[in-house]
Every structure is written in structure tokens, then in C-alpha cells.
């Protein structure tokens, strides 16, 4: 009843808005009922996609037959080459060991490349330099966190205390930074630079979203986004 009156007062044309108001309320009610269904549908889609990716990697021929590598405008519409991706992962993983001595820089990447028997000039695979190492590390930490959260919520129907859960998750995530604390301010600075900020922001939001999700918040509605800023 109340919504109808509000809508009428806001416009002038009370006949049209009266009926539109009813429709809007019905749509909202319907939407609330299917939020959980929507989430379930999305999760199923994600699992199917992962299975499909694994199947194509197993057959090995589908994506590597059209090895079209990255264009210079970085509008990368072709499938990334698995050999190249593997090499890049190897180099970045090895480079993390040198962050404590060289910081988040192309020197660290070059040293990492040398330890996996690639010439040090293959740091050129990462033209933006140290920030690529930072993003790689951040992604790795996020994945470790997800594994931890999955473990913690494995036997639980519902998380008993979401804010305590979030606190523990954040603590775990922060402790992953311990070996790199000395140069972490440099990483934060690199992430804040304008060319890198969008990707860094995406990483942070993914992290926050994951924590919220495992803590039990299943809403898709952005108006209930009060929790993520609190985690920030």
C-alpha cells in the first residue's frame, strides 16, 4: 500500500505509475525468492566451465592448434598458449624467492628466470615489470585463502559467527604476507599506480567477495554491500 502512494506522489500521472508500482513490487518479491536459485545456477555453470577447461587441456589440441599469440594492442582475443602460460607461471613462482633481496622488480623476475633455466632476458615476457609479480603473488594468496575458507566451512551448514569468521580469514590472509613484509610497501605503491590500479582493485574486490561468500552472505544485491567496505 505504502509503495503505491509514494510512487503516485513522485510522478504526476497517477494511473500509469500505480500499475508500474505494482509490477515493480511483484518483480522484487520474485527476485528475492530466486537469489539462492540464481547463486546455485551460477555455481553450477562455473563447475561445468572448469570441467570443460580440464577436458580441453587433457586433449591438448583444441586451444594450441591456433596458436595466435598476444597482439600488440593487448586486445587479447585469442586463447592464451598453454606453453607460454606454463613458462610464465614457472618464472614468476621462482622469482618470488628473490623478492626479499631485489624487491618487486624486473631484477627479481630475471633472477627467477635464471633459476628455472631460462635466460634472464625472459623477464621481457612481463613488460610491465615488478607489478606483474605483485599481481601473481596476490592471486596466489587469494587462492590459498579460498582453500583455507573451503576447509573451514566444509562441515558447517551455516557459519555461526560471520564477523568472527571474517576476522579469522583476514588474519590468515595477512599472515601470508609475512615473508615479504620488508618490500610490501613497495608492492602497495606499485598497485596504487594509475595503470595498475584497475587490476589491483579487481584483486581486492575478489578477495572481499570471497570472504563474504564463505562467511555466509549470499546476496547479489549491491545495496547490501555494507559488509565489504567494513572488511576494507
Amino acid at each position: 500500500m505504502g509503495l503505491r502512494y509514494v510512487v503516485v506522489l513522485m510522478s504526476g500521472d497517477w494511473t500509469v505509475m500505480y500499475f508500474k508500482g505494482i509490477r515493480l513490487m511483484q518483480a522484487l518479491v520474485k527476485a528475492n525468492e530466486t537469489f539462492d536459485d540464481f547463486r546455485a545456477r551460477e555455481e553450477k555453470k562455473e563447475q561445468e566451465y572448469v570441467k570443460q577447461q580440464q577436458a580441453s587441456v587433457a586433449t591438448g589440441t583444441s586451444s594450441s592448434s591456433h596458436v595466435d599469440t598476444f597482439s600488440s594492442t593487448s586486445n587479447d582475443q585469442q586463447a592464451p598458449d598453454p606453453d607460454v602460460e606454463r613458462a610464465k607461471e614457472m618464472i614468476l613462482d621462482a622469482a618470488l624467492a628473490f623478492v626479499q633481496s631485489h624487491g618487486w622488480s624486473k631484477q627479481a623476475i630475471a633472477k627467477g628466470a635464471e633459476t628455472v633455466n631460462y635466460p634472464s632476458v625472459s623477464h621481457g615476457l612481463f613488460p610491465r615489470g615488478g607489478i606483474e609479480l605483485v599481481h601473481h603473488f596476490y592471486k596466489q594468496c587469494n587462492l590459498k585463502l579460498i582453500d583455507y575458507l573451503k576447509q573451514e566451512t566444509a562441515d558447517l551448514e551455516r557459519v555461526p559467527n560471520p564477523s568472527e569468521f571474517a576476522r579469522k580469514a583476514i588474519e590468515y590472509r595477512l599472515r601470508l604476507l609475512e615473508p615479504y613484509l620488508k618490500y610490501w610497501p613497495q608492492a602497495l605503491g606499485l598497485m596504487a599506480l594509475p595503470p595498475n590500479a584497475p587490476h589491483s582493485l579487481a584483486n581486492v574486490l575478489t578477495l572481499v567477495d570471497d570472504i563474504c561468500y564463505y562467511a555466509g552472505d549470499r546476496s547479489v544485491d549491491p545495496s547490501s554491500a555494507h559488509k565489504p567496505p567494513l572488511i576494507h
Binding site: V67, F70, S72, D83, A87, A113, E114, V121, S122, P127
Partner: protein, 291 residues
């Protein structure tokens, strides 16, 4: 005496004339079987002749090569080469660079200077091999190196005269292959690329700095006017050579476009091939990895 000499000259000349018109000379045909036409600037020449003509061009310009580079590009070629070296960033140990068509040594010297700026005391020494098909260019390069007198802290430099299409080096013996302003002079670019792929180690980088095609129509017009109306006369005045510089500006037009060249590099087996235009496409840096 004289009549004999004249007839001997005639004897030498006639066979050549006969071979060119005689289709049943299969023995000689097999040697020239693949001798199709190619471009030498805007002229059409036989493939077997192209390298000779290019060789002559560079013999003539070797002495004034650097002066002409400065004059024609108004010094910007130094910036291009500095950017090129910065893109490569040879940090690390034991890097072996092959600078093909390295001639007068601009890239090799920048590489050595970059290495000297590395502060790590336990750095393993790196090496550069400057390779060129033309000995005159290498001689000029060696003189410049001696004049430069750079302290090298264990890094070594070597000067080799060889053809880019048939390199006298072993497989997987270099970590970087660079070719700056040289590949458009080669007769078979695909052979050069496959040789580059052969001599590079896995993970090694191929980098090419070359004149390319300007993407903006109006700038292209300005660039064309400058190339054809200013550069050959400048060559005549400064170096007393018109033809080599006419060839130079024509050969730039004949070189494939950025994307086409990128495809050629990919076809040679390189991955992560990218290009970067400098000065609106006047020059482009192409880079690929052997992975």
C-alpha cells in the same frame, strides 16, 4: 696480341649470353633454379644479385654511416636505439647477445654501457657478438669501439663477418638476437627469422628495430615528402652518394607492414610476438620469444 685479347673477351662473353637464353642447360638451371625476382628498393632484381647490390650500398656508405644517420633522423635514431635497449633491459648474468647487421656497433655499445651500469659485484660476465655481412661496416665498428675505450669488467665483444641467412653459430647459443635497421636489406627474411630461431636458447628473445609504416595518412604524406625529396639530396651533399640513400628510402616502403611482419615472426616459431610503434610508426620494435 690485340686481336687475340679481343677474341678471348668475346669467348668469355658469349657463353653467358647463351646460358640466359638456352633452356636445355639444366646443369646451370639447377644452380639458379630458385632465382626468382625480388625487390631492391623500387627496382626488380634477381635474388642472387640482391645481396651484391646491398653489399655495394653499404661499402659505399660505411665511412659516413653514422653522420648520415644523425643528419637524416635529426639525431632521433639515438633515442630509438636507447628505447630499444631499454625494452631489452639486459639485467642478469651471462647474457649472450647476437647483434646481427650490427655493423658500426650502435646497439652493441649501448648493450655494453647498460651492462656497466649493473651494480651487482658477483655478476657473471656477458658477451656480445657483432655480426654483419659487410666487412667494411665491421671495420668502422671496430675503430669506434677502440675510440670509445669503455671499461668492460669482464664482458666480451666479438666481431664476426657472416650472412644472416646462414649463421656460423651453433644451435641455442645466444640468449638474445637483435637486428636493428638490417632485416629489410636481407633477401630472404623468413630464412633470417628461422636462423634466429635456431641460434636462440629456449626462453631467448628476438628483437627487431626497423623502419615501418606510418599509420596516419597526413603524417605519411609528410614523411614521404621528407624521404624522397630531402634524404637523397642530403646524401649527395654530405656523403657524395645519391643512389644508396634512394635505395634506403625505397626499401623502407617495400618492407612488410607491422602486422604482416609480426605474422612472419610467429610463423618462424616465436611466441608472445608484439610490436611497438615509435614516432607514429616511422620505426617499430618487434619482439618475440622462443618458448
Amino acid at each position: 696480341m690485340l686481336p687475340l685479347r679481343r677474341t678471348s673477351l668475346l669467348i668469355h662473353r658469349l657463353p653467358l649470353a647463351r646460358f640466359s637464353s638456352n633452356a636445355r642447360e639444366n646443369v646451370n638451371q639447377s644452380a639458379t633454379q630458385h632465382d626468382s625476382d625480388t625487390h631492391f628498393g623500387f627496382q626488380t632484381v634477381k635474388e642472387s644479385d640482391k645481396w651484391k647490390k646491398v653489399h655495394k650500398v653499404f661499402e659505399e656508405v660505411a665511412a659516413s654511416y653514422d653522420l648520415m644517420n644523425d643528419a637524416m633522423s635529426m639525431g632521433i635514431h639515438r633515442v630509438w636505439k636507447d628505447i630499444f635497449m631499454e625494452r631489452l633491459s639486459p639485467v642478469g648474468n651471462g647474457i649472450r647477445l647476437l647483434d646481427m647487421a650490427g655493423g658500426t656497433g650502435d646497439i652493441a655499445f649501448r648493450y655494453m654501457k647498460y651492462l656497466q651500469k649493473q651494480t651487482a659485484p658477483d655478476r657473471k660476465p656477458s658477451h656480445v657478438t657483432v655480426c654483419d655481412i659487410n666487412q667494411n661496416m665491421l671495420d668502422v665498428g671496430q675503430q669506434r669501439w677502440e675510440k670509445l675505450n669503455l671499461p668492460t669488467a669482464g664482458d666480451t665483444i666479438e666481431w664476426v663477418c657472416a650472412d644472416a641467412e646462414k649463421l656460423p653459430f651453433e644451435d641455442s647459443s645466444f640468449s638474445v638476437y637483435t637486428i636493428a635497421f638490417g632485416i629489410r636489406n636481407c633477401t630472404h627474411i623468413d630464412k633470417v627469422l628461422s636462423e634466429a630461431h635456431r641460434v636462440l636458447k629456449p626462453g631467448g628473445r628476438f628483437m627487431c628495430l626497423e623502419f615501418s609504416h606510418v599509420n596516419n595518412e597526413y603524417l605519411k604524406w609528410v614523411y614521404d615528402q621528407y624521404s624522397f625529396q630531402v634524404i637523397p639530396p642530403m646524401g649527395q651533399i654530405l656523403a657524395n652518394q645519391w643512389q644508396p640513400y634512394q635505395y634506403l628510402v625505397e626499401s623502407i616502403r617495400k618492407f612488410p607492414q607491422q602486422n604482416e611482419f609480426k605474422t612472419m615472426i610467429q610463423n618462424a616459431g616465436f611466441k608472445c610476438v608484439e610490436y611497438e610503434n615509435l614516432t607514429f610508426g616511422v620505426v617499430a620494435i618487434h619482439s618475440g620469444f622462443k618458448l
